[in-house]
């Protein structure tokens, strides 16, 4: 097809009907924002394509699609927004595929002159393109108008700070902990000092905890109970007592999948623990725990990938109590026996315990006398020799 610039833009906007419908059906502002971001990038690229491509063969849709996906992903990272990656890819895929179907089948059937018009759609198509543009702009405007308020903290606030409505909290220091009791809450670049729990999330979802630092918590650094949370680039250090868990996510099976990514946890009893939840634990660094580095337990369905666990006493990573875990590409080093003569806590790098099933691959266990072991009717499965 030899598109004209107008043809490219009209075709692009009209074909965006499909992802827009999906985004509207999801009833999530981020979905509309994502479609708008995709379209904005693609429309800018259309200006470039128009200069470079006098003729665009059908196969070129694949590399151009890959380029556009890369740019969208890069923009998402640059904008520092936390949209769910799976949905993002799905929406992009729907947009790309529907673009192909529209360009190669629907438009040529609906408008016989489509090809020779360089992708221009005539009055009806132009009206559709305008409607898509208006819907997106209107959607973005509405999203902007009803977006959760953003509160910038300056200096130190005495807590506990209770958040009971959708809100974005940015910056500052909170003493005594933060309690989240509402969905669609975002905490960014906040330092929390002390408190029973550094951050306590209950009965909420779509809670984002980004670049949050918790110092000296009494019980848990970050606790999520019956909640869906996305935790990234956090740190939990200097526990105030011997029973602290760095991040605890429990009884959240009915909520959207949670994620813990890029966090550093040092000196707690347990680093990251899940109970009856579905959590993706990845790219975290857990150091010097006194009982277990990463615990995936109580019928959880979790993934632990690309984590580093160093100097744990007792156990590095454990999948336990009827859980099903995927443990891949982790490094566990210098795990030490906890001194109780119990082989299940004897410096085991990776362990499955009590009717648990752990699928292992590409893990590295160094200087851990207990190695990798399954106890009490548990099993390891692996697709690779050496696991």
């Amino acid at each position: 097809m030899s598109y004209t610039l107008r043809g490219r833009i009209q075709s692009r906007l009209a074909a965006a009907v499909s992802p827009l419908v999906v985004a509207l059906a999801l009833q999530r502002w981020w979905a509309i924002e994502l479609v708008a971001l995709m379209l904005a990038i693609q429309l800018v690229l259309d200006l470039v394509y128009d200069r470079l491509l006098a003729y665009q063969p059908a196969w070129l849709a694949l590399p151009l699609g890959a380029l556009e996906l890369g740019l969208v992903y890069g923009a998402v990272r640059a904008l520092d927004v936390m949209w769910p990656l799976g949905w993002m890819l799905a929406l992009f895929g729907i947009a790309w595929l529907s673009g192909q179907i529209f360009a190669h089948a629907i438009f040529p059937r609906a408008r016989l002159e489509y090809g020779e018009s360089g992708g221009e759609l005539g009055r009806v198509g132009a009206a559709t393109a305008v409607a898509v543009a208006v819907t997106l702009v209107g959607g973005l405007g509405a999203a902007y108008a009803v977006r959760p308020p953003t509160v910038h903290l300056h200096g130190t606030v005495q807590g506990p700070l209770v958040i009971d409505h959708a809100e974005t909290l940015v910056g500052g220091v909170v003493r005594g902990g933060i309690v989240v009791r509402a969905s669609h809450v975002t905490l960014k670049h906040v330092t929390v000092v002390g408190g029973q729990y550094g951050v306590d999330v209950e009965h909420a979802q779509h809670v984002m905890i980004d670049h949050v630092r918790v110092v000296r918590p009494v019980l848990d650094g970050i606790r999520a109970l019956d909640a869906g949370v996305m935790i990234s680039d956090c740190s939990v250090t200097s526990p105030a007592g011997g029973l602290v868990t760095g991040i605890l996510i429990s009884y959240s099976m009915g909520r959207p999948m949670s994620m813990v990514e890029g966090c550093t946890i040092a000196g707690t009893r347990e680093g990251i623990a899940t109970h009856s939840s579905a959590v993706s634990v990845m790219n975290n660094h857990v150091v010097g725990t006194t009982e277990r580095g990463i615990l995936l337990g109580e019928m959880s369905m979790d993934m632990a990938t690309h984590n580093t666990v160093e100097g744990a006493k007792g156990i590095g990573i454990i999948c336990m109590d009827h859980s099903m875990c995927e443990i891949e590409h982790n490094t566990v080093a210098a795990t030490q026996p906890d001194g109780n003569q119990d082989p299940t806590r004897g410096g085991v790098g990776i362990e499955a315990f009590f009717y648990a099933e752990a699928k292992l691959s590409h893990n590295t266990v160094i200087a851990s006398p207990g190695g990798m072991r399954a106890f009490d009717n548990s099993i390891f499965t692996s697709t690779l020799p050496g696991m």
């Binding site: 030899s2 006098a54 059937r109 016989l112 489509y114 090809g115």
Partner: protein, 352 residues
């Protein structure tokens, strides 16, 4: 009847299929031509040069809508992949089967009138064809006005023929390329006589000239530039690719294929020299131009970008499709060109 199509070849069939797709009843259309089977002439020419694949790509079919193309009819994923890479050239047999379905599906025979039209006259409310009418909208698709045979007595590539042990083939376009390979495959020694080296081009014209992107600039150009473009594009060309080159290189190495500037007295001379060029070779068009004093430039009738004759299109429509419509669309003598004129014509016919 308010619509007439003059001519009974592929361009006429494309126009007829487009009108029917747009919902024009067969009873409102009269097709005047000399062949009840609109494929007859084209089929004979393709058979004469033993053509097995179309030069056009997937959209080179007669359906009104571009999709689905012929590649989808193949039910072969390799054809689908090839069409995405512009490497799919439909088999001639598949094209003909598809064209026969179009003939049957559109009810062509209900509109067909076997008659050669000698004269078209503009009258109040439309046009009269040899006194019949008036027809408010007329599309002329009279086809090529005859075979170009620069050497008297020689067989033309588009006429049935076999190959002698020594063959001289005059010309360097698509038909000539077929003939070189045919004669070599038949075991002949071939001398290719050509005035210039052929252009290697996948399609008859560069792809942007098939769409608005290239056509806008073409339509804005001066008449002299228009004519220069058409003259350049009418130089002989055939597609690049090993399918054409390897047999010729192998035959050259064996001394069975040579290029010469003049006919050298070989026992068989085949003229792969295409067709007579220009409206003046077509009696109906020549008379139309003369009687209505239509503007022309060189060998072309000057047309509007939508393939209509501006002086005679005012509440009525006179469209010229096929090779005589090149002023509006340089590839007018292809299926894409026939459909270009047909779509514009059908848009005007919707105005009752």
């Amino acid at each position: 009847m308010r619509i007439a199509i003059v001519g009974s070849g592929l361009a006429s069939l494309a126009a007829y299929a487009t009108l029917r797709h747009r919902g024009v009843p067969a009873e409102e259309i009269a097709v005047f031509g000399t062949h009840e089977d609109p494929l007859e002439v084209w089929r004979g020419r393709a058979a004469a040069i033993r053509q097995t694949r179309m030069r056009s790509e997937s959209e080179g079919h007669l359906g009104a809508a571009a999709w689905p193309g012929l590649a989808l009819h193949e039910r072969d994923p390799r054809a689908w992949l090839a069409t995405a890479a512009n490497r799919y050239h439909p088999p001639v047999a598949l094209f003909l089967r598809h064209a026969e379905r179009v003939v049957a599906r559109t009810g062509w025979e209900r509109s067909f009138v076997q008659r050669r039209v000698e004269r078209l006259a503009a009258v109040d409310g439309g046009f009269e064809l040899d006194g019949d009418g008036p027809f408010r909208h007329v599309l002329l698709a009279t086809g090529h006005p005859g075979l170009a045979r620069p050497i008297p007595g020689a067989v033309h590539a588009y006429e049935p023929h076999d190959y002698a042990p020594q063959v001289t083939i005059v010309g360097a376009g698509m038909a000539a390329a077929h003939e070189w390979l045919n004669a070599l495959a038949a075991g002949s020694e071939v001398v290719s006589v050509r005035r210039r080296e052929p252009t290697r081009r996948p399609l008859n014209v560069p792809r942007p000239l098939l769409t608005k992107r290239g056509l806008d600039a073409y339509h804005r150009s001066s008449p002299e530039e228009h004519a220069a473009t058409l003259r350049t594009l009418s130089q002989p060309s055939y597609p690049p690719g090993a399918r054409w080159d390897e047999p010729l290189r192998a035959a050259e190495r064996e001394g069975r294929f040579k290029v010469a500037a003049e006919v050298n007295g070989a026992p068989q001379v085949i003229c792969a020299t295409g067709f007579l060029e220009g409206f003046s070779h077509d009696p109906l068009l020549a008379r139309l131009v003369a009687e209505h004093d239509l503007p022309t430039h060189d060998r072309w009738i000057v047309l509007a970008p939508d393939s209509t004759v501006p002086a005679l299109t005012n509440g009525r429509t006179l469209t010229i499709a096929g090779v005589a419509g090149q002023w509006a669309f340089p590839a007018a003598d292809t299926i894409a060109g026939a459909k270009y004129a047909a779509r514009a014509f059908a848009r005007r016919c919707r105005t009752r």
